[in-house]
């Protein structure tokens, strides 16, 4: 589904990703872990098409297409979803109008008719239950005045509405209490299928108690320095990133 080959990116001349190789297949959950500043969020933004970053080398092939040639909206229509670390507040744009516009744009791309209002509302009700989001939140402006936890749940709610093929969840666990974490993880798990894939980006192992990854990668100073199965996450949790830093420097 996704092949990243030797990806280098820079912002204002500073190289952040220094040669990433990663392959994600249908039905898989990948976790990308790493200390602050290792480039995790940059990788997420680059996958979603943020133009802030310059691609200096490498390629990204998604479903056989060159992802780097697509703008953010095209990527979304092709099934890529980014769960933001810091969801943006947009006063004056109602959640419902936003969701409806997004959903219908994606349907148009697939050659489908816009959703009827009644069907749309039914879908909203169903998906809201999945993430136990407060009814009132969908009557407000996008993320405006939402608490940290509400914002994160709202990301998963949007993910459920848009039903993406590849979801990238950027630190979706940060700032969540244990109950909210469970709700978010439950949402992600129930959306999992044989046809889609998820990349979970996290600093802590905690989330991976609830979302069991098929593969764990450790990002360190712009490179994936170690890959393994879910046990790598526990090892990291016990030994800390210091351990890896030493291992990398002795290589």
């Amino acid at each position: 589904m996704l092949k990243i080959k030797n990806l280098h990116t820079a912002i204002e001349g500073t190289e952040i990703l220094k040669g990433i190789d990663l392959e994600v297949n249908k039905g898989e959950i990948h976790a990308i872990m790493g200390p602050n500043g290792s480039g995790k969020s940059t990788l997420a933004s680059v996958l979603a098409g943020r133009e802030l970053f310059e691609i200096t080398q490498g390629e990204i092939i998604y479903e056989g297409k060159n992802l780097l040639e697509m703008n953010p909206e095209e990527r979304a229509k092709e099934g890529i979803f980014l769960g933001f670390q810091y969801p943006v507040e947009i006063p004056g744009v109602s959640m419902m109008n936003f969701l409806k516009t997004a959903l219908n744009e994606q349907r148009k791309h697939k050659g489908m008719e816009p959703l009827k209002s009644s069907d749309f509302l039914k879908m909203v009700r169903e998906k809201k239950e999945l993430v136990q989001i407060d009814s009132n939140l969908t009557n407000r402006s996008v993320n405006e005045g939402f608490s940290g936890g509400e914002k994160k749940r709202n990301e998963i709610f949007q993910m459920a509405m848009l039903n993406p093929k590849l979801s990238i969840l950027d630190e979706t666990d940060s700032g969540l209490d244990i109950d909210a974490l469970r709700i978010v993880a439950n949402g992600v798990n129930s959306l999992k299928s044989e046809d889609n894939a998820t990349i979970v980006i996290t600093h802590y192992q905690r989330l991976l108690n609830y979302i069991i990854p098929d593969k764990v990668h450790v990002l360190y100073e712009g490179k994936i320095v170690k890959s393994g199965d879910k046990n790598l996450a526990f090892e990291l949790e016990n030994k800390g990133y210091e351990w890896l830093a030493k291992e990398v420097s002795t290589e």
Binding site: A48, G49, R50, N71, P72, E73, R75, A76, K77, F81, L82, F84, P87, V88, I90, P91, G92, V93, N97, F98, T101, A102, E105, Q106, H109, S141, V142, Q158, L162
Partner: protein
């Protein structure tokens, strides 16, 4: 030729018109109105036409607008048409008393709508001046500043007609008054109408003003509207300015609020060549509430300038100025907001903000707050922003599949909503939402069934 020399020539042209036509101007109007003309023209002679060397007109030079030769300055146009044929306002469920000003003259409709419930009067200013002399004399030129504002003085010198609205004590209007200002002529023209609204104690009124240009001629409007809002009275003043690029509109609003009154003024500038709105809001009693709001959308070489002056003279009043603009292409805008809190006006709350979205590098906005505070126990604030649409928000919307253009529109629409959402007449609010959306999309901004396509970007 220097600007000053030009202004003198220009000024002389207007003085000339005045003295040559003085008898005509006076004809049919009572002495208490005519007596003010000569003093007013002297003020105009002294002050001249404002240009960019005047601090208040730093960003709006009116010389070029006054320089154009207008064929018609002060004569009513005898155009026979049925209002219903030419103008059908299609705002659904907006049930209003419609009155029409054609080139500044009250247009006598075939079905006069004078007999209003509750003793409310809507009529030609000219007619009212003769019919209700004591009432009009009490208010006429009492709030407008013909002593130091040259264009207000020019209007006082030339004023012949306009709209008079009267709401008696304790009466509530059954429905809003809708004043439609139409500019329609086969030659370039100037209009200087004079409106007077009197809302007596505990009265309530809603006034909706729509400005339209109907023919592709150059027009210059220099209007004065005086509004008296009595104790505990309420006035909503909603305005939609929608004129073509060949028009210059100078609107001078003078508001006088008595104790416990509440006024909401909302000016939506959809389209216009050069627009200068002057708002002089005087809070002349305790516990007044005033909201002076505006939204302006400019493109190509349009220029929109809002000049607001709020005068807090008594304690415990609240005022809020909020002006927001979206400027595209080479459009320019200006905002100047003055808050004056006089010494006795303790416990004043006065806020001001001016926010702008500039869609191109060539679009320009000049914004100037002026706070003058002489009382010590007040809450005042001001703030301004000018910038591009929020990049983070744009990316967020796009990352969900919403195309760039649509995402930008959603954001501008949301930006405008803060003003439109304040309109207290729901059908009008819905309609303005639609018009603004269409305008932002670059589609026609005229109302669907109105014959007037004043907002057609293909014209002029």
């Amino acid at each position: 030729m220097s600007i000053d020399a030009q202004s003198i020539d220009l000024k002389d042209r207007y003085l000339d018109y005045f003295y040559k036509n003085l008898e005509y101007l006076k004809d049919g109007l009572p002495a208490y109105i005519n007596d003010k003309r000569e003093k007013a023209i002297q003020t105009f002679q002294k002050k001249g036409i404002p240009h960019n060397k005047n601090e208040a007109y730093k960003y709006t030079d009116l010389n070029s607008a006054f320089e154009k030769q207008y064929k018609n300055y002060m004569h009513p146009k005898k155009i026979d048409f049925n209002l219903d044929d030419i103008f059908k306002c299609d705002v659904p469920e907006l049930n209003t008393h419609v009155v029409l000003l054609l080139n500044g003259w009250f247009y006598e409709n075939k079905t006069p709508r004078r007999q209003l419930p509750n003793g409310v009067i809507i009529s030609s200013f000219r007619e009212a001046a003769n019919k209700y002399p004591s009432l009009i004399k009490k208010h006429y030129n009492q709030y407008a500043d013909s002593e130091s504002e040259s264009l207000t003085a020019l209007n006082t010198a030339f004023a012949q007609d306009g709209v008079f609205l009267y709401v008696p004590e304790g009466k509530v209007m059954d429905k809003p008054v809708q004043i439609i200002n139409l500019l329609l002529d086969e030659e370039d023209g100037m209009a200087q109408h004079r409106n007077l609204f009197v809302i007596e104690e505990s009265g309530e009124a809603k006034v909706i003003v729509c400005d339209h240009t109907l023919s592709e001629k150059n027009f210059l409007t220099n209007s004065v509207t005086e509004m008296y809002v009595g104790q505990n009275a309420n006035l909503d003043f909603d305005r939609v300015q929608n004129e073509h690029n060949g028009s210059t509109q100078i609107s001078n609003i003078y508001l006088h609020q008595e104790k416990d009154s509440n006024v909401l003024s909302n000016t939506i500038t959809l389209h216009g060549g050069l627009v200068r709105n002057n708002f002089y809001m005087q809070l002349k009693g305790e516990n007044c509430e005033n909201q002076t709001l505006g939204l302006y959308l400019g493109d190509r070489s349009q220029h929109i300038d809002n000049y607001v002056h709020i005068d807090h003279a008594f304690p415990n009043c609240r005022s809020n100025q909020l002006f927001k603009g979206v400027l595209d292409d080479m459009a320019t805008g200006a905002f100047s907001g003055r808050i004056l809190v006089r010494q006795d006006a303790q416990k004043t709350e006065a806020y001001q903000a001016n926010n702008n979205i500039l869609l191109t590098d060539d679009a320009k906005m000049n914004s100037k707050p002026q706070l003058e505070i002489y009382a010590d126990d007040v809450k005042c604030s001001h703030g301004g922003t000018s910038g591009q649409p929020n990049e983070n928000a744009l990316f967020y919307l796009r990352s969900r599949g919403i195309p760039y253009k649509e995402a930008q529109l959603l954001l501008m629409y949301a930006f405008a909503h803060e003003i439109i959402g304040q309109i207290r007449t729901p059908p009008l609010q819905d309609r303005i939402h639609e018009l603004v959306e269409k305008r932002l999309r670059g589609e026609l901004s005229r109302c669907n069934y109105c014959e007037i396509d004043c907002g057609d970007p293909g014209k002029n």
